[in-house]
């Protein structure tokens, strides 16, 4: 009996040993590649097969790039959406993170602080377009003097509206609201179109409520955190104004619909369904509504967030960072690919001639990576030349950009957004919500989060 037990114990130990062996990572022990030898890089955000036109363009670009750099093989990793932040840590822990992985701006600083991306400062100088990139855009991927990635897309928040509903409600779609009072009036008229029509939609769950609170706060000139980033700064007149405005539209005007606790896809679906009049969002919302939620480009327009003239707007976008275990050869090869595919006017993502020939939308005022520098002007001209979507629908947004400064998301963005979801959901679900108390509670929680050493 003792021997049998001993045998079973050995079996168990062997099994656990197998587990330990299978979970070990051998990546760190791999020898570095020869500088001139073949290099294979894995790159995230390859368009999925369900998006055949973009996939075809990507594959053509990979082939073109390989012709120019025969020693570099690009292996795309497709996924839709490009990144699921939920799986980021698991991929990193499991050793399956791409050499060039795709990130949203929201996560960049968190990744840098956690040292989960490679420092590419000593290599990034080889990318000549870097000097022309907007300083605020590049700062997203920087920590002090060090650089950890390059942008692919950049935009700031605006007000997305349904032009068709504007017309139905007797409003002028060419003259969208410039003040919150005008938004309130327009929302009331749209909501009055009938049951199910929502004048203005807003998020309040899954951290998206806090995200939009920040967007509306920035547009009013407020800040999420103090200059040193150590304390919360949203319990301010601007913060109160954000919540009071929403409370008025929700309960006094009854123009925000009865269904709340909305998350990202909810407003997209409502916008695509044609019964939502307005929402805070960037031009990429229109793209998403057109591509994935059955909307049509021509039905939507974008303008600046009301009353944001001369103030800030929450910036958003995405880009690529490098696996912290990537060898210098892979980083250099990756930078060459990014320069070709994401940053060169007329190539890769900016090959508007090809996009037009494929019947893909051209003309949205994003990405805005270069501002008014030479590549930026060139991209704007190409976009205009090959435009396939009604560019005029985005004119109010584009015209306002000259007076608006892009402002980055706060530190510990997701944690702060989670805290502010409470205030947003309270205002939208409870008529007697006490805004002062909500902001005061949120401030106290946020201060604890900001003080926490991560």
């Amino acid at each position: 009996m003792t021997t049998t037990r001993r045998g079973l114990s050995l079996l168990l130990v062997a099994g656990l040993g197998l587990v330990a062996a299978s979970c070990g990572s051998g990546d760190a022990n791999k020898p570095a590649a020869n500088a001139d030898g073949p290099v294979t890089i894995t790159v995230g955000c390859e368009p999925p097969k369900s998006n055949p036109k973009e996939r075809e363009a990507w594959e053509a670009d990979v082939a073109t790039f390989h012709t120019a750099h025969p020693n570099i093989t690009v292996q795309g990793k497709d996924a839709f959406p490009c990144i699921n932040p939920d799986t980021f840590q698991a991929k990193l822990a499991g050793g399956t993170q791409e050499d060039l992985f795709y990130v949203y701006y929201t996560d960049v600083q968190k990744i840098i602080q956690k040292k989960q991306a490679a420092d590419i400062s000593q290599y990034v100088g080889s990318v000549k377009e870097v000097n022309d990139l907007r300083k605020d855009v590049m700062s997203t991927f920087k920590d002090g003097d060090k650089t950890y990635g390059l942008p692919r897309n950049n935009y700031n928040m605006g007000l997305v509206y349904n032009r068709k509903l504007f017309t139905q409600a007797g409003l002028d779609p060419a003259n969208p609201p410039k003040t919150w009072t005008e938004v309130q009036d327009a929302a009331k008229k749209i909501a009055a179109l009938g049951p199910g029509y929502v004048g203005f939609g807003e998020y309040s769950a899954g951290n998206t409520g806090g995200w939009h609170f920040a967007a509306e706060l920035y547009a009013r000139g407020g800040s999420m955190v103090s200059d040193d980033g150590k304390t919360a700064a949203f319990n301010s007149d601007e913060g109160k104004a954000v919540l009071e405005n929403l409370k008025k539209m929700r309960w006094d005007d009854n123009s925000m619909g009865s269904k709340q606790l909305l998350q990202w896809a909810d407003l997209m679906r409502m916008m695509g369904g044609g019964k939502l009049g307005m929402m805070i969002g960037a031009p990429d919302v229109v793209q998403s509504v057109n591509n994935d939620f059955k909307g049509k480009f021509e039905d939507y327009g974008v303008t600046a967030v009301p009353e944001s003239d001369g103030k800030s707007s929450l910036s958003g976008g995405d880009g690529y960072m490098f696996n912290p275990k990537a060898s210098p050869e892979k980083i250099k090869a990756g930078l060459l690919w990014l320069e070709f595919h994401e940053l060169t006017p007329g190539k890769g993502q900016f090959d508007y001639a090809r996009a037009k020939s494929q019947g893909r939308p051209v003309g949205l005022p994003i990405p805005d990576l270069y501002g008014t520098s030479a590549p930026g002007t060139q991209i704007t001209a190409l976009r205009k030349q090959y435009a396939t979507v009604p560019v005029d629908n985005f004119t109010p947004y584009v015209d306002a950009q000259g007076n608006i400064t892009n402002k980055l998301e706060p530190p510990k963005a997701q944690e702060l957004y989670a805290v502010l979801d409470v205030a947003m959901s309270a205002v939208l679900t409870r008529k007697d919500a006490d805004i002062n108390k909500l902001l005061s509670d949120a401030e106290s929680k946020a201060n604890k989060i900001l003080a926490k050493n991560t």
């Binding site: 003792t2 021997t3 049998t4 045998g7 079973l8 079996l11 168990l12 099994g15 656990l16 197998l18 587990v19 330990a20 299978s22 979970c23 932040p85 939920d86 980021f88 840590q89 990193l92 822990a93 996560d107 968190k110 990744i111 956690k114 040292k115 989960q116 049951p195 199910g196 309040s204 769950a205 899954g206 951290n207 998206t208 409520g209 619909g257 009865s258 269904k259 709340q260 606790l261 998350q263 912290p324 275990k325 510990k412 997701q414 944690e415 989670a418 979801d421 409470v422 959901s425 309270a426 939208l428 679900t429 409870r430 929680k445 604890k448 926490k452 991560t454």
Partner: protein
């Protein structure tokens, strides 16, 4: 003293194996040979458990005491992760919500399947059809079931408010109100899991000897007396086991708040499992998430231990 008792009481002597007669070796070899297939199957199960249950659990315990970026070796931080999550204002809400959810799920989700099983057991006609109908929700993928209820709960045109409107009851906020959000989740959870509980109870009810009911009927017992004096005592252990399993399952509630409310409104539906997910995947703080997970595991361990004891007692009967 029997031979068996003597063997049990005989102290283990180092080297005793070597002094055993050769016949014992042969017997052992034959025993191992006979059970080789069983050991093979056991080995497969052990590897599966090791990979998918034990290793993650051990890793979770380790992570809860570390600060880890999955690139550099983890840094031991003692109980810092625990202190940090306990200091989080959402921590208290999460435990309170989880306890309330479990409590309400016990009242509703535990009683309803039992009552349904009793009714189904008493039915003379359409038994098979009704069993199928009751079990149907279990066949739906949980995400589909939850999203179906999202539509039912719509405060504007949702099915539930329309039904209330028919009887002149004003519409409810359901998920949008701090007063009704948690109970709304309990209703979804109960509906999704009703079928399994009902079938288990039904199986237990059908194992009760029919002559007990006949005797009760001869003694003039009606339905309620039969349930009270025959059904409940005869299914006592199953009821207890199901109660404990229900507690363990409901305390891990995640999918309902994740898909229906995102923890809102005002953190009214943030549960421990949801907060754990927020820490690990939204905040990138696996240490904090693991610490929460470990705390939940310890609490569930208490119930699981009771469950094991009750199961053993049942086996012994």
């Amino acid at each position: 003293m029997s031979v068996t008792e003597e063997r049990i009481r005989r102290p283990h002597v180092v080297g005793a194996t070597e002094s055993q007669p050769p016949d014992d070796h042969g017997a052992l070899r034959r025993a191992v040979g006979r059970n080789l297939t069983a050991y093979g199957f056991l080995c497969g199960a052990l590897i599966c458990f090791a990979l998918f249950s034990w290793y993650p659990m051990i890793r979770e315990v380790v992570l809860s005491f570390q600060q880890n970026n999955f690139v550099d070796p983890g840094v031991w931080v003692g109980f810092d992760n625990f202190k940090s999550v306990i200091a989080d204002p959402a921590f208290r809400s999460a435990w309170l919500n989880t306890a309330v959810f479990s409590g309400m799920a016990l009242v509703i989700g535990y009683a309803v399947p039992f009552v349904l099983a009793v009714v189904l057991n008493e039915l003379k006609h359409a038994k098979a059809y009704l069993r199928f109908v009751v079990y149907l929700p279990v066949m739906l993928p949980p995400a589909v079931a939850v999203l179906l209820f999202k539509w039912f709960y719509d405060p504007g045109n949702g099915l539930f408010n329309q039904a209330l409107g028919v009887v002149n009851i004003p519409p409810l906020g359901w998920l949008d109100s701090t007063n009704t959000a948690l109970i709304s989740l309990v209703i979804v959870s109960t509906w999704m899991n009703l079928g399994t509980g009902t079938l288990i109870y039904l199986a237990a009810l059908q194992s009760i000897p029919g002559d007990l009911y006949e005797s009760a009927e001869l003694d003039g017992a009606g339905l309620f007396k039969r349930v009270r004096h025959v059904t409940i005592p005869q299914t006592r252990l199953i009821l207890l086991v199901m109660l404990l399993l229900q507690i363990v399952a409901t305390m891990q509630v995640f999918i309902e708040p994740y898909l229906l409310t995102g923890g809102g409104p005002e953190n009214a539906t943030v549960t421990v499992a949801y907060l754990m997910y927020q820490y690990a995947f939204n905040f990138g703080d696996f240490g904090g998430g693991s610490a929460l997970g470990l705390m939940l595991m310890v609490v569930l361990l208490v119930f699981s231990t009771i469950y094991l004891r009750v199961s053993r007692e049942e086996d012994a009967r």
